[in-house]
């Protein structure tokens, strides 16, 4: 967003009346927000479009009390929830593969196998957060999660939606939620460990 046009405060006030500026001013931001949550470019683009169209229709409701951007992000959030709700009705086969126990080699008699269990991560936390490659790997690893699992996981981890609400939105049981979250965390941790945090070959 380097070329983002900067507006003076007074101009900003009037800007909400001009939907044709929305694409340039907020498009990237909305798209990025949607993409990190739904992970598929086409879906994210559709969501941004739905959001902008809904915004045009609802324009009179925009009080100007909040900033235009947070108003649009608010609409987008609802659109993302709708998308997840629809997703909740579908089951995909990839989910099933995901649940087969790929981590069995990590454990020996249910204790960590000391040579394949969690390793010390380098670079350490804070440092990793400042590195672009870390974020790229994180996105790539998120991309490997089955869609439904990812939506559950991101609602919980990124947006801090309560467990109860996630279950209601996606129409899943409590037990199902715990399994999905557990699997997602395990898979994501392993993916980061194998691809980003150590230079060595992935543990067998």
């Amino acid at each position: 967003m380097s070329e983002k046009p900067t507006k003076s405060a007074t101009e900003g006030e009037a800007a909400h009346a001009a939907p044709e500026h929305w694409v340039d001013e907020h498009g990237d931001c909305l798209f990025h927000y949607a993409l990190t949550r739904v992970r598929r470019t086409e879906v994210a683009e559709d969501l941004v479009q739905d959001t902008l169209l809904a915004a045009v229709r609802a324009q009179t409701n925009f009080s100007g009390r909040s900033s235009e951007r947070s108003w649009l992000v608010g609409i987008l959030k609802n659109k993302i929830s709708d998308h997840f709700r629809k997703l909740g009705r579908e089951t995909t086969f990839t989910d099933l593969d995901f649940y087969s126990d790929e981590h069995s080699d990590k454990f020996e008699n249910e204790f960590w196998n000391h040579s394949t269990g969690p390793r010390v991560w380098k670079p350490e936390g804070e440092e990793a957060l400042n590195r672009t490659e870390f974020w790229e790997h994180l996105q790539r690893c998120l991309g490997k999660l089955p869609e439904r699992v990812a939506s559950v996981f991101l609602m919980r981890e990124m947006d801090d939606v309560s467990a109860k609400e996630v279950c209601a939105t996606l129409k899943i049981t409590d037990a199902n939620l715990w399994v999905m979250l557990h699997r997602a965390r395990m898979a994501l941790r392993l993916c980061l460990e194998n691809n980003y945090f150590t230079d060595g070959p992935p543990s067998a």
Binding site: M1, P19, E20, W22, V23, D24, G27, D28, C29, F31, H32, L35, T36, E45, V48, Q49, L52, L53, V56, R57, F107, N109, E110, F111, W112, H114, G117, P118, R119, V120, W121, G125, A128, L129, T132, F134, W135, E136, L138, L154, R156, E157, M158, D160, A163, L177, W178, L181, H182, R185, M186, L188, R189, L192, E193
Partner: protein, 100 residues
């Protein structure tokens, strides 16, 4: 587990704790769950005892929590072009808006 092999007492304490606390496989499940719900006190104590003797589970917990932290501070600036709308997509959006 980090024990000196010839330290008989340590080995026994560790062995005992390993027997009475959840196994690592179960610990990973509990660690995940503790991020979404408050676990019963008994479970939390057993987990804590397990963590005294198991560096691997400590690491697992730290790393899983780190991923959550990372996702919550998730950067707003779309740094790579992949995080931005393509020109085509922008054009489509403008068109859709002009019809609306």
């Amino acid at each position: 587990m980090n024990i000196e092999p010839n330290n008989w007492l340590t080995a026994n304490v560790v062995g005992l704790l390993a027997r009475i606390t959840p196994r690592c496989h179960d610990m990973t499940r509990l660690i995940s769950r503790s991020q979404d719900a408050v676990l019963p006190v008994g479970t939390r104590i057993k987990m804590r005892m397990h963590l005294w003797i198991c560096a691997w589970c400590v690491r697992y917990g730290v790393q899983v929590r780190f991923v959550r932290t990372a996702l919550r501070v998730c950067p707003e600036p779309p740094s790579s072009p992949a995080g931005k709308l393509s020109e085509d997509a922008k054009q489509r959006l403008r068109q859709a808006l002009s019809i609306a």
